[in-house]
């Protein structure tokens, strides 16, 4: 479980995150949603340690991230898997070398053990045929799946996904969402997903934190988000004319 308490982050005097208090539960897909520029990515970068918060605490299973010593922090990083928005695969490496990279760098496994693990991870994301391809030779959806395979290579306790569906068609997005959902439950991972894709919210949003102008504005589940009275959440969820008409019809029925 990850807990965030009174988190603040400023850039050049501008407050990007203000008094964020929330938690992300183990074995669940925890979504952070909000408009572009609301502070979602900054929050995620604070969680994974790429940004230092100006105030507040982040607790990983009750251990304060800011108070961890170097070896504890190193250990925590090895328990994290991160799926970046653009997949962040290493261009100079093949698919299997990408997945093997964390195993080579961070474990003392023998070559055949590493190969077994790579085979397992690639099979889990349905890419057992793509071992020798380079990132430039595969599609956007496949890149995301390779990135997921790399993220789970070290059996992480925490999985962070920054806009996993960006640039993907709705059908491929659904495949990625389902894959993340299945992996989260299969391996009992604390998964945090940054998204503004409403399809993802409805498909896999077990807990949803809505960030608005750098503040935690609303928290609930995917069933609650459609019926909340929160104006900003409704503006986000029913942003299109089509969705607004649906919202009005739904209200009428209620």
């Amino acid at each position: 479980m990850i807990e965030v308490k009174n988190l603040y982050k400023h850039f050049n005097g501008r407050t990007v995150l203000s008094d964020i208090c929330t938690s992300f539960e183990q074995g669940k897909t925890n979504l952070i949603i909000g408009q572009s520029g609301s502070g979602k990515t900054v929050l995620m970068k604070c969680l994974i340690g790429l940004y230092q918060p100006d105030e507040g605490t982040i607790l990983y299973d009750d251990k304060d991230l800011s108070k961890m010593n170097k070896s504890e922090h190193q250990l925590l990083l090895q328990e994290m898997g991160v799926l970046f928005q653009g997949s962040a695969l290493f261009d100079s490496m093949t698919v299997s070398e990408n997945v093997m990279f964390p195993l080579t760098m961070l474990t003392n496994q023998k070559e055949n053990e590493k190969k077994e693990r790579v085979d397992f991870c690639l099979e889990r994301v349905n890419l057992s045929h793509a071992h020798d391809l380079y990132p430039s030779q595969i599609s956007g959806g496949m890149k995301k799946r390779v990135a997921i395979a790399r993220a789970i290579a070290l059996n992480p306790k925490y999985l962070f996904c920054d806009e996993p569906n960006s640039g993907l068609d709705p059908k491929t997005s659904l495949v990625i969402d389902q894959l993340i959902y299945e992996i989260t439950h299969e391996f009992n991972i604390t998964t945090v997903i940054n998204t503004h894709d409403m399809n993802s919210v409805m498909e896999i949003g077990e807990t949803i934190s809505f960030i608005y102008q750098g503040q935690l504005w609303w928290k609930g589940s995917n069933s609650e988000i459609l019926t909340t009275d929160n104006q900003e959440v409704n503006d986000f969820v029913y942003a299109s004319k089509y969705a607004k008409a649906m919202f009005a019809a739904q209200r009428k029925n209620i």
């Binding site: 340690g49 790429l50 190193q74 090895q78 991160v82 962040a88 695969l89 760098m105």
Partner: protein, 246 residues
Amino acid sequence: MKILQVIGEYLFLMKRVFVRPKKMSYFRKQLIQEIDDLGLQSLLIVSVISLFMGAVLTIQTSLQTESPWIPTWTIGFVVRQSVVLEFSPTIISLFLAGKIGSSIASEIGTMKVTEQIDAIETMGINSASHLLLPKIIACGIVNPLLVIISIFLCLIGGWFACEFMSTIPSQQYLEGLMSFFRPYDIYYALIKTFVFAIVIASVSGFYGYRTEGGALEVGRSSTQAVVNSSFTLLFFNVVLTKIFLG
């Protein structure tokens, strides 16, 4: 003040770069790859430049010293000294600053803007050391070797000019090449090249590493890397010449 900030950032990055690699076996593999990418891939162009420049240098020197008072063998001597002391270490290094420097800066810059560096950091790996240390060491090994080859080919180029263009009798050119030879000049050239190699790789890596944005900024970083590593190289050229020969 900005320049002090940049120097501070550079030194801070270098502090992260020069640490023991996490996995020595992986580092060795990377090093061999970098020696091939940064060094051996430059061999052909360095050889061609050196051969032609050696020939041109010999022709021009002979044209400037057409006097009955100056013995013909001095042309070979002057060519050798110019090549060993300045042409090969400095001009070839400036050329490598353009070729290797832009390659390092654009590679690292692209990795930065596509979050590949963030991906390495989130695995708990020191990305600065992982990416830059093999490149810096590879340049430190390969550039002096390229300069030795360049010196050799420049002198051969000069010999071609004598033999096939009748610039001066080739026997006298060879006599000049062997006159007043000091091994110290070669050490000086190699030390200079080694320092230049470290400057080229580290400054270019630094500019790649501080890239923020997208493709446009990667191009900008690449240009900045070449310009600034060339300036730094020329500055060190003066300093080292003063220290070793002044």
